[in-house]
Symmetry: C2
Subunit: 350 residues, 2 copies
């Protein structure tokens, strides 16, 4: 699989904590007016003037959330940022700052952390967020990444999970299930590699889904698109754990029911063909596979004309009264209850 052929290995103990932080963070530039002071004091200083601030935080643990045998560190850094920005965009806000904390064991040389930070830096640049702080320390075993993202939004534009109303349309951005099938491919190739380390995997048939897994993109563009279309969703959430789990969150917090139409769920052709290859039902993958980082939202029927035909947005169902419950309407027009089987980091505790 992906191998680090870089022969240079600088032990972290050579630098010490302060020099390491300085080395990894000295190239981060500040570009937001709201960032008064970034890295270098006891705390960062921010000033959002009259905007609302949104804040989200995630903890990624090696062996639980990622497997370094097939995830390049640069991709991991990029993805760790995306996971957090996605939550900010799900508030209909623009991400402005992140903090990055890492704990590492001494099997990581400085060069590995540079790779990780290169990914973080690329993500911060592309998505225009300032890196304003963090913590760097040692761990007794693997790598742990903790990112906190901040964003700003006008009070009137903020979208919570709790605003869905009966008759609203359920809309999803992009397509889903890709990240999960990409993971299946990577896991399969890892097994092949274990048996024959000289075997170079041919991933060319799976580029889209592997990229969905390794280098997901948070949907900043969708927040911008909605603004341009003058659509303010009534509720919104990002799809990190799987469609069914996220639908249930929206319904629970909005106190509504939902009908989702199986034949409307947007799937990439590569997801469909790979599901066939693995003999897995693609709807199950869409409902329960996570990590797509698309946005799931509800919009008022009045806004339908504004989003109709937009290739980035797909109507997959509608909101019902709470008593009607949450259902998937299958291709055979059967109604089956939606249950959460999403990815759960605590289910398979080591």
């Amino acid at each position: 699989m992906i191998e680090d052929k870089n022969p240079k290995r600088t032990p972290l103990s050579e630098l010490g904590e302060f020099k390491l932080i300085e080395h990894l963070t000295n190239h981060f530039k500040i570009s937001h007016k709201s960032t008064v002071k970034g890295i270098g004091d006891d705390a960062a200083v921010l000033n959002y003037a009259k905007k609302q601030v949104v804040l989200s935080t995630d903890l990624l643990v090696e062996g639980v959330h990622f497997d370094l045998s097939y995830v390049p560190l640069k991709h991991l850094g990029y993805k760790a940022v995306m996971v957090n920005l996605s939550d900010v965009y799900a508030m209909n806000a623009m991400a402005t700052q992140i903090t990055v904390s890492i704990a590492v064991s001494n099997r990581f040389p400085l060069e590995a952390l540079e790779e990780l930070y290169a990914g973080i830096s690329t993500a911060a640049d592309l998505y225009n967020v300032d890196v304003i702080g963090g913590d760097t320390t040692s761990s007794t075993s693997g790598l742990i990444i903790s990112i906190t993202a901040l964003g700003e939004v006008d009070e009137d534009d903020e979208v919570l999970r709790s605003g869905a109303k009966p008759n609203d349309l359920v809309v999803v951005s992009g397509d889903i299930g890709g990240a999960y099938m990409g993971l299946q491919i990577l896991e399969r190739e890892k097994e092949v590699f274990k048996v024959n380390p000289n075997n170079q995997p041919d991933l060319s048939m799976y580029t889209y889904i592997v990229e969905r897994q390794l280098k997901p993109e948070a949907r900043k563009d969708i927040v911008e698109l909605l603004k341009k279309l003058e659509v303010k969703p009534t509720s919104m959430i990002d799809i990190s754990d799987g469609l069914s789990s996220e639908v249930m969150h929206l319904c629970k917090q909005s106190n509504v029911g939902v009908d989702i139409y199986e034949n409307k769920i947007p799937l990439d052709p590569q997801v469909i063909s790979t599901c066939e290859e693995f003999n897995i039902d693609s709807t199950t993958v869409a409902l329960n596979g996570g990590e797509d980082y698309e946005l799931l939202m509800t919009i008022s029927q009045e806004d339908y004309d504004k989003i109709k035909g937009n290739p980035n947005l797909t109507v997959i169902g509608y909101v019902t009264e709470s008593e009607r419950g949450m259902h998937l309407v299958t291709r055979a027009e059967e109604k089956i209850p939606i249950i959460a089987k999403g990815w759960n980091a605590l289910k398979d505790l080591p």
Copy 2:
């Protein structure tokens, strides 16, 4: 040492991630106007109106930052919050919100996490901060705690590390070296316990220093006191890594030198007697032992009369021109250069 005699052990896998978060966080109340929405959406929503926001984050790793064989989980939760609030107070700001993320392995039952959160909750109540979010996930080995603290401050009141000027007085709150000596006591008793588990340690002679280690208090009161005395420090930092390391940070970022007087460094009698018992130099402990979470600041000479005689504040030296360097003036009136030997989580990477 401290033993958990609670027989109830509910495996975390019984609850799943969402129920666990709900269970641990449902009693957190919101008390700040700036907290618009706490736990329960993709992100928390905050509104600081015209205030500046300060933000600090720390990662605590089992086996690196704490040893559960003598740190009760409740104390650990309390201390984890203190570590972060201390950074906020060091900006002369008032702490308003925290997020708490934890990763745990399955050797921790629910009841253990409840203890941890009880400590977090106690700290949040006492220091009046809202718990507004976090992440809960599994780890492959030990316990990891990541806390981010936010605070607010009027733009004019903010104190950075970089404002010290020659002739300013160097002032420290409380007394220092206690947390380090408390750790020595706990480490010694751990060894005794290993040899004879029935031996109950008598810690009554060491209550103050053991409490400094296990249950430190962030100096919110000092920020309030300074406001009352109408003293705005020219620079400030919290003492987490040891006096010498923090003095060096202030000097480096303010581009000044310093003379610190050994005989002025405030030490508790218990620190002095325990240093004698361990045959360690108490000045070395004050300079290099960390985790006291006192505030180190510089103030203008004009403000001297306002702080003179205050039992919470001790003048330990004065700021000099950068070229003069950083020195400790010993009791024998020798001038020796100050070097950083503070606690460094990366120095002894496992």
